[in-house]
């Protein structure tokens, strides 16, 4: 099957403008005849729900949390990029586009990334109009900070709570539409299945997490904005509830899964302290603006950081990448941290950590300025570790943070299943093999506020499909599948909790499909995952009942899907015999240890088609063509 990316013809800077004109419209009186289901209420889901409703569509929005305001976008700390060039430092749409595509190691679609950069400025305007309290200068204009992978200051921020403030802006817009009766909100509902009728996405089957009731919902289109799959690794910076279920169930129903091996390890997280740990906490990358990263030059140097003289410290990022220094992109910063720890120069109890030191910045700017910029992050660090970063350097280590892969979508954000749209982290579209800091918020809001509202109308105007109700046989069949899976989970009554299986799967993936991957390791993982999955279905112990608020059952369902998904991720990593961005295959590196791409053979997006659990999925390649930029080896020196 040939994948049609629907990239518009013409020069890069005209593509989105001309496509917007080509798109068919639905007249305002007819919009209310269409119903859209949006799953997920983070930046992408909430902004899409609110905007579609403003346009006149009927929207039903679903989230598994008790309120749409809890979605994990809320935890994004650092900021949001936009090519406003308010700092007069040489920024432009073209530069943001180039930084993003280069940061993604040239594995994203040119046209999508350009559009993202183009829309970025309108996002800031929209958020400010909603009352998002971005940081300001004394004169009242907006403040900016710089971020990894860029040499200009284009990141807008609200202390260390930018994601929270942007999400609350979108949430408030959503709540306004709910109050107008145009969005029906379903909190504490989890999507269990996608319903496909005659090849088109026509609805979903959900479980009411309070009553356990399985319900069908029909619509004219389904939008998935359900985030990423970092929690496949058990420990990640994601919220504990984040899962792959919605997109995985859609994949099982025919939606292609693209580039699942593109996972991002974030360089600045609080190191693991023990086995009981339920998540890892991110310390915003913005800390790298003022913090200097170092380890002792000597192996096994156990002195307190303050006792190690300047000459015996290795500021390894500044040494290796003098022009970007501590602001080198995330994948590079993460791997460098792993390298120095592998050499035995790591710090902290387990030797898996590096220092992030504010001493120089405090000397230069004063403690107050540092507190103003990062106060809440520093307090959070102190609460978790019991150490005071104003006095001793922070210890940080990389952790799973973001997943660039996701369901395959065309330029209209529609998957290969017509009527199924995928937004934000759940799709694969804009970040290539590595996402730059402050770009996730930008993408989520671009998709929801400014792209989907245009493209979904074109789908309705060009596909006049008959309405389908939940009485359709396909709904009944899908409901029965969902119910059967729950019954099966409850009936195993084995010896191990869902969490224990999840932990084991996570260890396995971190070991073999983590920061550095090898052919042998991935093959080992691919042999072990099916065995673990088989044990799961024979030995999992899910307490309680189906028709009840049952968190153990919720967890079990999500772990079951991670068990299937993990195999696809490892397979994709195995088949991509190159290193690019967050996907680092040890066999493919330059003499300096940097990721070595193979543009001749792997300049494509890998879109996988489901063929059954345990059966080998079919690979479809979407070649990436670059018309306006030259593919270069990334160089941050």
């Amino acid at each position: 099957m040939a994948l049609d990316s629907k990239i518009p013809q013409g020069p890069l800077e005209k593509k989105w403008q001309s496509r917007k004109f080509e798109l068919k419209l639905v007249n305002p009186a007819n919009k209310r005849k269409y119903k859209v289901i949006v799953v997920g209420s983070g930046l992408a889901g909430a902004s899409a729900s609110a905007t579609l409703s403003e346009l006149g569509y009927n929207v039903s929005c679903f989230c598994f949390q008790d309120s749409p305001r809890r979605a994990h976008s809320i935890a994004a700390q650092g900021g949001i990029n936009a090519a406003k060039n308010y700092q007069n430092d040489g920024d432009s749409v073209q530069r943001l586009f180039y930084d993003t595509i280069k940061g993604g190691d040239f594995r994203a679609r040119e046209a999508n990334v350009y559009r993202l950069a183009e829309i970025s400025t309108a996002i800031i305007d929209q958020c400010v109009a909603q009352g998002v309290p971005f940081a300001r200068e004394y004169g009242g204009t907006l403040a900016n900070r710089s971020f990894g992978g860029a040499q200009v200051s284009r990141t807008f921020y609200a202390r260390g709570q930018t994601g929270q403030q942007l999400l609350l802006g979108a949430y408030q817009a959503l709540e306004r539409q709910i109050s107008l009766g145009k969005v029906k909100m379903h909190s504490r509902h989890e999507m269990l299945e996608l319903v496909v009728v005659d090849g088109h996405a026509k609805g979903i089957v959900t479980r009411n997490l309070v009553t356990g009731k399985i319900e069908s919902h029909a619509a004219d289109a389904v939008v998935l904005a359900t985030g990423g799959y970092s929690n496949a690794f058990y420990l990640s910076t994601n919220a504990v509830g984040c899962n792959v279920t919605a997109i995985w169930r859609a994949h099982r129903k025919g939606a292609f899964f693209a580039n699942p091996c593109y996972t991002q390890i974030h360089p600045t997280c609080i190191p693991v302290s023990g086995d009981y740990q339920s998540k890892l906490t991110l310390m915003s990358e913005s800390l790298r603006n003022d913090g200097r990263i170092w380890v002792p030059k000597q192996k096994g140097d156990k002195r307190a950081p303050g006792d190690i003289p300047e000459a015996e410290r290795d500021y390894y990022l500044e040494r290796k990448y003098p022009s970007y220094g501590n602001l080198a992109p995330r994948d590079i910063a993460s791997r460098s941290a792993k390298e120095v720890c592998d050499e035995g120069r790591g710090v902290g109890e387990h030797g898996r950590g590096v220092y992030l030191d504010f001493a120089d910045a405090i000397k230069r700017l004063g403690e107050n300025t540092i507190r103003e910029r990062y106060g809440n992050l520093i307090d959070m660090y102190e609460r978790i570790t019991g150490e005071n970063p104003y006095k001793v350097p922070m210890r940080i280590y990389p952790a799973l943070h973001y997943t660039m892969g996701g369901l395959w979508v065309d330029y209209h954000l529609m998957s290969n299943l017509p009527g199924l749209f995928v937004l934000g982290e759940a799709n694969f579209s804009d970040h290539g093999a590595n996402r730059l800091g402050a770009s996730a918020l930008m993408q989520g809001l671009a998709d929801g506020y400014f792209i989907l509202p245009y493209t979904i109308g074109d789908y309705f105007a060009t596909h006049k499909k008959p309405k389908v109700s939940t009485d359709h046989a396909e709904f009944k069949k899908t409901e029965a599948e969902a119910t059967a899976k729950i019954q099966k989970l409850l009936s195993v009554k084995g010896k191990r909790t869902p969490a224990s299986f999840h932990r084991e799967l996570g260890h396995l993936l971190w070991e073999y499909c983590g920061m550095a991957r090898t052919e042998a390791g991935l093959k080992t993982a691919l042999a072990k995952i099916p065995v673990l999955r088989e044990e799961f279905w024979k030995n999992v112990n899910v307490m309680g009942e189906g028709e009840d608020f049952n968190q153990s059952l919720e967890r079990a369902g999500r772990v079951a899907d991670f068990m299937e998904f993990a195999e696809l991720m490892c397979l994709d990593a195995l088949e991509r015999k190159e290193s690019c961005g967050g996907h680092f295959r040890s066999e493919y590196q330059t003499a300096e240890g940097e990721a070595k791409r193979d543009d001749a053979n792997f300049c494509y997006a890998a879109a996988w088609e489901f063929k059954g659990v345990g059966a080998k999925p079919e690979l479809h390649k979407e070649p990436l063509t670059f018309e306006s930029i030259h593919l270069a080896e990334r160089n941050y020196k």
Partner: protein, 255 residues
Amino acid sequence: MKLKLRVWRQKNSTDRGRLAEYNVDNISEHMSFLEMLDVVNESLAGQGIEPIAFDSDCREGICGMCSLVINGIPHGPERGTATCQLHMRKFKDGETITIEPWRAKAFPPVKDLTVDRSAFDRIIQAGGFVSVNTGSAPDANATLIGKNIAETVMDAAACIGCGACVAACKNASAMLFVAAKVSHLALLPQGEVEKKARVENMVARMDAEKFGNCTNQSECQAVCPKEISVEFIARMNREYFKASLSPKSEIKGED
């Protein structure tokens, strides 16, 4: 660490509920409070006891989903800290810890330590927004906002909507939550146009949801994980008073 837990168990919203006791062992002081409960739940499952239901999601103190009244204090003994960020090093070996849900008429119980806080969403629906559709915004720098105002706004906007303020208040008042949103939007030029209607409608909704009134004891501020100041309640009262003196037509924004 060894601990004795007294945990509120309640099958569902109609069950009466009771405190159950569990003795737990091998708790590390580096665990977060919720990780301690995870460990307890794992061991309960091993004994054939249904795990304790409690809400949490981000586990980094920002989503507002976690709750728990710990030894009588919402979010536990550490100031400015949500339960998920509270660590066991704040407790003593051998201590007895009592864990209860948020208790308020407006937050009906769901199960065990989980309650329904959708009343907060309905208060936001009553006016906690700026009515601006996507696409109609002027350039972001066209509206200048002083740094000090922006900082004060951010202090209010930091609210995570957890409901600890309600749980701490003897009247189960939601004044701090409502005041934080009213202040955030009233202080900004973007929120100026609708500010009178906003405060009236949000307060009316708060009352309709059966939250109680404020009697100025500041318990809410003391337990707020974001340490939001009761000064915002004073500001809301001022906004409410101003609105009450305005003609109705002005409040609704009509000509």
